[in-house]
C-alpha cells in the first residue's frame, strides 16, 4: 500500500466536495458530476481521456439503450395490455392484486428504468383502486417498493448495477452477466412483497375505503366531497351595477368555486378563463365547486343557479371534458414553480382545482403554492386541451388522455426486439451494451418509435450523472486513495469475518444512498470495498455486488424518485414511508447477504 500522499488528499477533498454538493443540493446532482468530469483532469488527477471515458462506457450505452427499449414498450401500450391478464389471475382479493402487480412491475422494472415502470403503472393502479374499491394507499406503496426492488433483478435494472462492470474493470475482476443477480433480486422482491402481505395492516396507512358508487361524471365520491361537481349559473342583467368588478379569481378566493367556462353574450364561449377575467352581466358560468359553496356564492353575488347543466351540457359531458390528477414528475421543470407562474389557464386553457400533498388537500390560493415533486394537481379541462398539457411532459397523468398516440399495432415488434436483445445476451453471449443497442435500433427501424422520439426519451441527466462520476471512481482507484482508505479502516477495525464485512458494506451503501444519489454512492464505494475485500480475504466481486444491490435499499425517505412520484397520488406522508421503509430496509440486508452467501459464497 502506498503511504498517504498529496494526490490522495486532493482526491479525498474532491470526494468531500462531491458528497457535500450532493447533500446540500446547491446544484443538481448531474451538474456535480459534470463538475467532477471537468475539475479532475484540471487537477491532473485523471488524464483528459479518462475524464470523458464515462461517456463511451458500457454503462452509459446500456442505459441509453434500456431507456429507448423502455420508451418503445411504453409507446405500444404493451405493458398496459399485460395488466388485464394479471388482474384476471389476481381476482378481487387486495393482497393477491398487490402480489400479482408487484411481481409484474418488478419484472418490468428489471428491464426498464424503475421510475419509468412506476409511472407506467400509476394510471392502471388508480383505476384498479377505483373499480375494486381498495384504498389507493394500500396498493401504491407495495407496488412502488417492488418497482425499486425490481431494479435488482437484472444487471440493467438500475443505474448502480449497470455501472458495476465498468467500476470493477480496473481491478481485472470477471464482469457480471445479465442474470447473475437475478436470484438475489427475486429473493429481495419476494421478501418485500411478503412483508407487505404479512404486516401490511401495521405498516400501511389504512385510508378511507371507497365504498360509494361512482358518480355520473366519472369522478369518485371522495373527490366530489372535496372538490365538488359542475354547476351552471347565470348573472342577472344588473350584475355589474353599483359594485366593484367581480373577477374569476375573486370567486375562487371567496367561495373556493372554480369557473371552468363562461358564455359572454351573445354566445361567445370561453374555456378556463384567466383569473383576472371580469364577470359581466348576463353571463352564463360553468363552475366546479362544492354545492354549499356554490349556493353561498349564488346568494351573496346575486347569481341564479340553474337546476341542471344547460348551455354547457355538451361541453362538460364526460366525452368532451373532465378532471384528471396530474403528478409533478421527478425532475419536472415545474418543480419549485407556483401554479401562478405556470399559468395553466392561459397556456393550455385548463383549470387547476386542487393540489394534493402529503395527505393534505389544498383548495385555497393554490396559485401561490410552490410545487414539489410528487404533488398531485387536480386539473379540469377538455380532453383535447388536457392532451396538449400531457404532451408537454412536465406532468404525469393518471388517466391516459393520449390513447390515440399509442401504437398498439407495433406491440409485436417491441416484444420481438426485446427478445432479440435477450437472446443475444443469453445465448450468443454478446456484450450487454451491443445487444441492448441492437434491440433499441431494431425498434427504431421497425418504427415502434421514431429516431426523434428515441432521442427525446433519453434522459441526459442520468447519462451525465453516470458518465461524470466514473472519472471520480477512476481517480480514487488510480491514485491509490481507495486502497489507502480501505487499509486504514481495516487496520483500525482488525480482521473481520466476510459476513460481517459484507453486512457493514451493505449498511454503509444504504446510508450513502439515502443522502447522496445511488450512482454517487456506487462510484465512491465500489473501489473502496473491492480493496477492503481483497485485504480481508473476501470475494471482491461480491463486495462490489453488495454495493450495487444495497444502493437500491432506499425506502426510509421518500427521496427515491419512485417514492416521490407515488407520494401525492397515494396521499402518503413522510412518516408513512419511514414506517414501512424501515421494515423493508431492515429485511433487505439479511436477505441480500443470505442469498449471496447461499448462491455464490463469500
Amino acid at each position: 500500500m502506498q503511504p498517504l500522499n498529496p494526490e490522495m488528499i486532493l482526491v479525498m477533498f474532491m470526494i468531500g466536495v462531491a458528497v457535500f454538493l450532493f447533500v446540500v443540493e446547491w446544484v443538481r446532482v448531474d451538474v456535480v458530476a459534470i463538475l467532477m468530469m471537468v475539475s479532475l483532469p484540471l487537477l491532473h488527477l485523471v488524464t483528459p481521456k479518462e475524464a470523458f471515458i464515462g461517456l463511451s462506457s458500457n454503462a452509459v450505452i446500456s442505459i441509453i439503450a434500456v431507456i429507448i427499449i423502455g420508451a418503445g414498450l411504453d409507446k405500444t401500450g404493451l405493458i398496459n395490455n399485460l395488466i388485464a391478464p394479471i388482474l384476471k389471475v389476481a381476482g378481487n382479493s387486495p393482497s393477491r392484486i398487490v402480489i400479482a402487480i408487484s411481481f409484474a412491475i418488478a419484472i418490468i422494472s428489471s428491464f426498464m428504468q424503475n421510475i419509468g415502470a412506476a409511472a407506467l403503472f400509476l394510471p392502471a393502479i388508480q383505476r384498479i383502486s377505483k373499480t375494486l374499491k381498495v384504498p389507493i394507499s394500500k396498493l401504491l406503496m407495495p407496488i412502488g417498493f417492488s418497482a425499486i426492488l425490481g431494479g435488482t433483478v437484472t444487471l440493467v435494472g438500475s443505474s448502480p448495477l449497470i455501472l458495476l462492470n465498468d467500476l470493477i474493470a480496473p481491478f481485472d475482476l470477471q464482469p457480471f452477466g445479465l442474470f447473475d443477480v437475478t436470484p438475489v433480486g427475486l429473493a429481495l422482491v419476494t421478501a418485500g412483497i411478503l412483508c407487505f402481505v404479512l404486516f401490511g395492516r401495521f405498516i400501511l396507512p389504512q385510508g378511507a375505503k371507497e365504498t360509494s358508487e361512482e358518480s355520473s361524471n366519472g369522478r369518485d365520491a371522495d373527490s366530489i366531497q372535496e372538490i365538488g361537481e359542475a354547476y351552471e349559473l347565470e348573472t342577472p342583467e344588473d350584475f355589474t351595477h353599483y359594485r366593484d368588478p367581480v373577477r374569476v379569481e375573486d370567486l375562487r378566493r371567496r367561495y373556493l368555486v372554480n369557473v371552468v367556462a363562461l358564455v359572454e353574450p351573445p354566445d361567445f364561449k370561453i374555456f378556463s378563463p384567466p383569473p383576472d377575467t371580469v364577470i359581466h352581466s348576463d353571463v352564463i358560468l360553468a363552475v366546479v365547486g362544492r354545492k354549499e359553496d356554490v349556493l353561498r356564492m349564488a346568494e351573496s353575488e346575486d347569481m341564479r343557479l340553474k337546476a341542471d347543466l344547460d348551455a354547457f351540457k355538451d361541453d362538460l359531458d364526460e366525452q368532451a371534458s373532465g378532471s384528471v390528477e396530474a403528478v409533478v414528475a421527478p425532475r419536472s421543470t415545474l418543480n419549485g414553480k407556483t401554479l401562478k407562474q405556470i399559468d395553466l389557464p392561459d397556456r393550455f386553457q385548463v383549470t387547476p382545482l386542487a393540489v394534493y400533498r402529503q395527505g393534505e388537500t389544498y383548495r385555497a390560493q393554490i396559485g401561490d403554492l410552490p410545487l414539489r415533486v410528487g404533488d398531485a394537481i387536480l386539473i379540469h379541462g377538455t380532453w383535447k386541451r388536457l392532451q396538449l398539457l400531457q404532451a408537454e411532459g412536465s406532468l404525469l397523468f393518471n388517466t391516459p388522455v393520449d390513447v390515440e398516440s399509442l401504437r398498439p399495432e407495433k406491440a409485436a415488434f417491441a416484444g420481438l426486439w426485446l427478445s432479440v436483445s435477450l437472446v443475444m445476451i443469453l445465448v450468443f453471449k454478446i456484450h450487454l451494451s451491443v445487444s441492448l443497442m441492437t434491440g433499441a435500433l431494431g425498434m427504431i427501424i421497425t418504427r415502434v418509435l421514431s429516431i426523434d422520439e428515441a432521442y427525446g426519451a433519453v434522459d441526459w441527466r442520468t447519462i451525465f450523472l453516470l458518465a461524470g462520476l466514473i472519472p471520480l471512481g477512476i481517480a480514487t482507484q488510480k491514485t491509490g486513495t481507495a486502497a489507502w482508505i480501505a487499509h486504514t479502516v481495516l487496520a483500525a477495525t482488525g480482521t473481520v469475518e466476510p459476513v460481517v464485512l459484507f453486512t457493514i458494506i451493505g449498511l454503509l451503501s444504504t446510508a450513502f444512498t439515502l443522502v447522496i444519489s445511488n450512482v454517487g454512492a456506487t462510484v465512491l464505494l465500489v473501489p473502496l470495498v473491492v480493496n477492503m475485500a481483497v485485504a480481508a480475504h473476501a470475494d471482491p466481486r461480491m463486495a462490489a455486488l453488495v454495493v450495487g444491490l444495497a444502493t437500491s435499499n432506499s425506502f426510509i425517505l421518500p427521496t427515491h424518485q419512485v417514492n416521490a412520484l407515488y407520494m401525492g397520488p397515494g396521499r402518503y406522508r413522510s412518516t408513512d414511508f419511514m414506517k414501512a421503509g424501515l421494515l423493508i430496509s431492515l429485511v433487505f440486508i439479511p436477505v441480500m447477504i443470505g442469498t449471496i452467501y447461499l448462491i455464490y459464497g463469500f
Binding site: L256, D293, Q358, E360, R363, Q365, P370, R573, S574
Partner: protein, 270 residues
C-alpha cells in the same frame, strides 16, 4: 355608517375631538377599553399590555417575537370591538391595525408643540424643559413603535384621509370636518366592507390563538376562508391545522381552513 380612527399625540386634543365626534354622530368612543378587553380575554396583566403596545420594542424584542403576541391580542380585541360599526377609536395604531377596511375614516390630529408643552406644564406642574422632553420622548416612542412593527411612519400624512392641525382650526372645526367626512359615500358601511372587517376580525382572532406557540404565523381570511401561512415544514403545518380546527370549532363564520407551509404570506395578512 363608519369606523373612525383618530391617531393623536399627547396633548394634541385628539381625545376631545374623538369624544365630541362620537357624541355628535351617536357613535361609541373607544380607546383604553380595547386594552382592557385584550388583557381580559387573553389573561395578560393590563400594565404589561399597555407597556407592550405603547413602548417601542427593544433590540432584543425585535430579534425575538416578544411584542408580536401582544400586538396580535390587541389587534384581535380592536377588530372585534369595531366590528359592530359606528365607532370612534382614538387608541394606538388604528390606522395600521385596521388596514384594508374600506369604511374606516383615518384621521390624524396634530397640535403645535408649544401649545402641548404649555398643557403638559399646567397638568403636571412641571418645568418647561421637563414637559418638553417628556412630550418629545413620547412622540419619539410612538413613532419608533409604528416604524418598527409596521414599517410605516405615523407622521406620514399619506396614511390618513384627514390630517387636522389644531391651531388655526379649533377642536369644533375638527369635529365638524370629521363628521361631514364620515357621512360621505366612500365611508359608508356596505355589505362588502362589513365582510372585510369581519374577515379581518376572524383572521386576527385565529392569529391571536396561535401566536404564542407559533410566533411566525400569518393569517388571511377571505369570506370565511382562512389561510394560515407558516415557515414550518409539512409535519408541523399538519399539527397546526389539527390544533386550529380544534380551537376554532366553536367560532362562527369559518368556512374553510388551510395551512400553507413554506409559502410567503401576502401583505394583507395579519
Amino acid at each position: 355608517m363608519a369606523i373612525i380612527t383618530i391617531s393623536r399625540g399627547s396633548y394634541s386634543r385628539g381625545k376631545e375631538v374623538a369624544e365630541r365626534v362620537a357624541a355628535e354622530l351617536g357613535y361609541e368612543c373607544l380607546s383604553r377599553e380595547v386594552i382592557l378587553e385584550a388583557s381580559d380575554r387573553y389573561h395578560i396583566p393590563e400594565l404589561k399590555m399597555v407597556k407592550a403596545v405603547h413602548d417601542a420594542p427593544s433590540l432584543l424584542e425585535r430579534l425575538g417575537h416578544a411584542k408580536q403576541d401582544f400586538i396580535a391580542y390587541y389587534q384581535s380585541a380592536l377588530t372585534r370591538a369595531v366590528q359592530k360599526d359606528n365607532v370612534v377609536y382614538h387608541g394606538l395604531a388604528g390606522h395600521v391595525l385596521l388596514k384594508g377596511v374600506p369604511h374606516v375614516l383615518k384621521v390624524r390630529i396634530i397640535a403645535d408643540l408649544e401649545d402641548r408643552v404649555v398643557d403638559e406644564m399646567k397638568r403636571e406642574e412641571s418645568s418647561d424643559q421637563e414637559a418638553r422632553s417628556l412630550i418629545l420622548r413620547d412622540d419619539q416612542e410612538r413613532r419608533k413603535w409604528t416604524r418598527n412593527l409596521y414599517g410605516v411612519d405615523p407622521w406620514d400624512s399619506a396614511l390618513y384621509d384627514i390630517v387636522v392641525h389644531i391651531r388655526k382650526f379649533t377642536v369644533s372645526n375638527a369635529v365638524e370636518f370629521i363628521c361631514r367626512a364620515a357621512r360621505l359615500d366612500p365611508f359608508a358601511t356596505t355589505a362588502r366592507s362589513q365582510r372585510k372587517i369581519d374577515d379581518l376580525a376572524l383572521a386576527s382572532q385565529i392569529k391571536a390563538m396561535l401566536v404564542e406557540v407559533h410566533p411566525d404565523v400569518r393569517v388571511t381570511c377571505d369570506y370565511g376562508n382562512v389561510l394560515i401561512y407558516t415557515v414550518n415544514d409539512d409535519r408541523m403545518a399538519r399539527r397546526m391545522k389539527e390544533k386550529v380546527e380544534a380551537l376554532t370549532r366553536k367560532i362562527q363564520g369559518i368556512n374553510h381552513i388551510e395551512v400553507h407551509p413554506g409559502v410567503s404570506a401576502p401583505k394583507i395578512s395579519v
